[in-house]
């Protein structure tokens, strides 16, 4: 491991997952692309004193496509992800999330792991897209690897990330169509004020996930239950979304909480319209 002391900081560049896990055990914070972390000072948060960079760990940078699943390394950037999944049937929503987020220069740098592990970031695009796909995440911990559903990871994220390293995301390929609808107030680079991601599996199950409305993205289980596996039209889905809207919107600089909540049924309509056309946004 390449370890050097700065005046105030220890910055290590791990060569393997094991080295990164060891660094975490001694208190190092993870640095992936840095597009979130580097803005810590602007949020009044001081940069971590001890840092372990992942950029030299080759095994975290690959995407493997199998017949039944795809495995996405934590250090895969948004632009690499977009390139790798844009032709895969069923993953239209994930491709739209990876292409729609931020701006080209940020997408070239910002990683999947950083998107899933920025605990204070409510507007993450990949989180709802991957929730709708019922993805699993693999963590590396001092006592070995651990696989858990993304939804479980999100619930325990802050505690898990005290020592864990996220190593990969696993997406099953039983989804036949998906869509990711984001609503930024301006097109260029704004965070979405609300996000609706939907996916339909080959067995007819429809999953709906919402991002940016509450502090952490979550599945819209009340709407999923009301849909009950039926193939709903866009308007039917919108009507059910109006009846089952149990979100409490967060206030933020871009907009107030009530607005984030109120736009959801319209985004559900757009998402279902896209789903009927075979996905995408």
């Amino acid at each position: 491991m390449d370890m050097q002391d700065g005046p105030e900081r220890i910055f290590e560049s791990a060569a393997t997952v094991a080295e990164a896990v060891a660094a975490r055990a001694s208190g190092a914070a993870v640095l992936a692309g840095g597009t979130w972390t580097m803005r810590d000072p602007r949020r009044g948060v001081t940069l971590p004193e001890r840092i372990v960079a992942l950029s030299k760990i080759a095994e975290l940078q690959s995407i493997e496509v199998f017949d039944d699943r795809i495995s996405i390394g934590a250090s895969v950037t948004h632009s690499l992800l977009a390139g790798a999944v844009s032709e895969i049937v069923g993953l239209e929503g994930l491709a739209a999330a990876a292409t729609g987020a931020a701006n080209p220069a940020i997408r070239r740098v910002a990683t999947v792991g950083g998107n899933l592990c920025a605990t204070e970031f409510a507007a993450a695009d990949l989180v709802p897209a991957l929730l709708a796909l019922d993805a699993e995440v693999e963590l590396a911990l001092a006592d070995g690897p651990r696989l858990l559903p993304l939804s479980e990871f999100l619930k325990a994220r802050a505690a898990l990330l005290k020592t864990a390293l996220l190593t990969r995301v696993i997406v099953r390929r039983d989804v036949i169509a998906s869509a990711h609808i984001r609503l930024p107030l301006r097109k260029a680079g704004d965070y979405p004020v609300a996000i609706v991601s939907v996916a339909r599996s080959s067995d007819g199950t429809v999953r709906v996930a919402v991002g940016s409305v509450e502090p952490v993205a979550r599945r819209w289980t009340a709407l999923e239950a009301a849909l009950g596996g039926k193939v709903a039209t866009a308007e039917e889905a919108q009507a059910l979304a109006e009846k089952t809207n149990d979100f409490i919107g967060r206030d933020g600089i871009e907009t107030e909480g009530w607005y984030r909540r109120e736009v959801l049924p319209a985004l559900v309509r757009r998402a279902f319209a896209a789903l009927r056309k075979g996905g995408a946004a």
């Binding site: 002391d5 005046p7 580097m38 080209p104």
Partner: protein, 165 residues
């Protein structure tokens, strides 16, 4: 910690905090002030440089992450005594620059874009500029200049091909 990288073709060392934004190393240590510090949040693109040939925001790039990489700034794209980069020349010829604050970043983003997307359409050019904010020009003349540049390059390469037959 010492970070070593190539800067505009020359070896460069930085001995202080590896979390220092590359932008500050360029401007404060190397006096390369082409990359501008405007938003420092990754939104405006005024600080865009190439890292291993790819445009990135230097304000959000900890210098520790460019260890072993090759960094090119607007100053290195074409130094004063060489011909301008052809896209820079096209911008100058079409008189698209106004105050100039956004242009180093605009050129760094779009020079890589035209290299990688010789067939780009107008909407694709616009999408490529989503991370480069310009407060003066209203963008249209920049987009026109890029579209014209691509058309000229294409005509040029077609003429070359025809000459080979």
């Amino acid at each position: 910690m010492t970070v070593t990288f190539q800067l505009n073709g020359e070896r460069c060392r930085f001995h202080e905090d590896p979390m220092t934004p590359l932008l500050d190393v360029l401007r404060r240590e190397k006096f390369l002030t082409g990359a501008k510090a405007v938003c420092r949040e990754g939104f405006c693109g005024a600080c865009t440089v190439h890292v291993d040939g790819e445009p990135m925001m230097s304000c959000l790039k900890p210098v520790g992450l460019v260890s072993g990489c090759s960094v090119t700034t607007i100053e290195g794209l074409s130094s004063g005594d060489q011909a301008l980069h052809p896209l820079q020349a096209a911008f100058e010829a079409a008189d698209v620059v106004q105050c100039g604050m956004c242009f180093p970043g605009m050129v760094m983003s779009l020079s890589a874009f035209v290299r990688d997307n010789p067939e780009a359409t107008r909407p694709q050019i616009k999408t490529a500029m989503a991370g480069n904010i310009c407060r003066c020009t209203g963008y249209e003349r920049i987009i026109d200049a890029v579209a014209d540049y691509l058309a000229v390059q294409k005509a040029g390469s077609q003429a070359k091909e025809a000459a080979h037959v």
